[in-house]
Symmetry: C6
Subunit: 74 residues, 6 copies
């Protein structure tokens, strides 16, 4: 299964996403994902130093600025 | 609904956009959006430390430099 | 009107462009623009701390390194 | 063999991947790879200063943020 | 004339190119350019603080990492 | 000859490659190159301050993170 299909298979479950920049660790429920790895997360929380920093709710992430995606309930 | 369609559905409402770089938090009314997430905002305001820093008016944002988009009136 | 068409409609008028990097604020007359937001500016001036830093003349800007475009005579 | 095919030939073996950012050295077993060098690694470990820093498990990496890929068992 | 065609029209003449990163100011004779603004320069010189720092000779530049191109003999 | 063809013509000879980031100067024998300037180098060595820092062997480089390519035996 190609990496972008692996991500799409995670729709409905929780993911950890690392964005470009230093402090952009986000966790949320993956609501949709396209082939460019643009992601729409629900109930998104920003994480810093292992703690929940901010609640962001519904967030759309631009695929090219995503470093990595880790499934939290694989 | 794919992430870029989610963004297009926000046309006419207020959005929070985080651009690459440290201080690029913008809020404005989404006037148009294409499939690359290039955005045209109206009544745009730059935000820093939670406060309105500068009023920028009409602004076109290049999609690949957008980190994330958050609807403010979901 | 899509964001890149909004930019193309600005041809012939003055624009403010923010490029990647810290000090890349440019102002000039938009001479041409394509769908990737590659821009050709004339009479370009580099701005720092709100002042004209350098006169650059004719400058071609690579679209993917543009953060935002603001019309100066909307 | 083109570079992306060279990477695809490494599926099933261990790779070292350097991502954008300072501390993003990852090692894992390459599970899948597409033509954009999006990668899906299993048993992924983050490396810092030559030591295993964190165990990350299953990780999807966005191709455009990969600097380089080194086969560990060529 | 589109921006990338403007660059291609500069083939055979000297250009100033600013790349991503802090110190990547290059000047050379433009030998070829494609629609992605990938450039091949000859007799390339790296510039720092307005002075010639290093002679680099024949250099291929990746278009997406080019910030701007300025013709030196327009 | 377009810039990416110029790079492909260097297959079999030694090249100097500068990647994004501060210390990513690599030298190696170009084994393959595609139109996106993804490169596969053999006998790769990382260079810092003009000295050979690390021997990396076989390395695949992602094209969009390449700043420039310089032929070492033109």
């Amino acid at each position: 299964m190609f990496p972008n299909k692996k991500v799409q298979k995670l729709i409905g479950s929780k993911v950890h996403v690392e964005m470009k920049g230093d402090l952009h660790l986000l966790e949320g429920t993956l609501n949709s994902a396209d082939d460019y790895m643009n992601l729409h997360l629900l109930d998104t929380v920003e994480i810093a130093n292992g703690e929940r920093l901010r609640s962001l709710g519904s967030v759309v992430l631009r695929g090219n600025n995503i470093i990595l995606v880790i499934p939290l309930e694989d």
